[in-house]
Symmetry: C2
Subunit: 151 residues, 2 copies
């Protein structure tokens, strides 16, 4: 039996002891769980974050959304176009700089965000049940430290 | 001063208390640190993981690499094409199934992986200095649990 396709296990070469590999694995799983719990217009974590940040900072520029969420401009523009076509976000030209837009949620966008927040709360509760309150707190503490690697 | 572009802070709407958001932030930071520490032919974590898994499982099929690393087939094909053009990976047709390829590292691929492992070890050591040995162990324990959400 020389064909590895016949053997069920792949040797992960120790990758499951690498923080980066495990972060990616956990992120795929957590994002998948978020998506599975959404029932409305918002289907992806990126859309949710963008709506939540615009809701809390009405009139925010695209540049500021990119900076706040670590999203590349080219990617953000695609998602904002999508949210605008779905009638969830409105772009107003900035009174100070005509090349810049100020972003607002429409009433439909606010409803979509509120409905999405229910799914998000259940998703976060599933994570807390899985890790325990102390486990979740400890995880967030280590993740905050890791985010500092960018500085 | 009504233009938010003049104010330095964006309200993150509590996203920094969401596990998914913080995982993404940490992953961006950790992947950035990995990339910054690489000096040779391997520049991205995905290339590194693929080379490491092929090295440990010579003759692996693309399907098995996708399953082991949670990579979508369309994305894997792009990276394998790239690694093949750079002379790091060789595709041999499977003797059992002509539609399937078996993947091997070339000698240049083995050298690239060894050189990349040095950068990876330094990267992982930076993470351990940041989190402490116990903090890193605790992080990995929680990440393993989160990966189970996919099951």
């Amino acid at each position: 039996m020389s064909d590895l396709n016949d053997t069920p296990r792949t040797d992960l070469a120790g990758l499951d002891n690498h923080v980066g590999y495990m972060l990616r694995c956990a992120q795929l799983a957590v994002f998948g769980d978020f998506i599975a719990g959404q029932r409305g217009a918002v289907t992806r974590p990126g859309q949710f974050s963008i709506l939540a940040v615009i809701d809390r900072n009405p009139g925010l520029s695209q540049t500021r959304v990119c900076a706040a969420l670590g999203i590349k401009r080219a990617n953000l523009v695609g998602v904002i176009n999508e949210l605008e076509s779905s009638g969830l976000v409105r772009r107003d030209p900035s009174p100070k700089d005509r090349r810049s837009n100020r972003l607002h949620l429409t009433p439909a966008g606010q409803r979509a965000l509120r409905s999405s927040l229910d799914g998000q709360a259940e998703h976060e509760a599933r994570i807390t049940r899985l890790l325990g309150v102390a486990g979740r707190r400890s995880l967030l503490k280590q993740l905050v430290k890791l985010c500092q690697l960018r500085k």
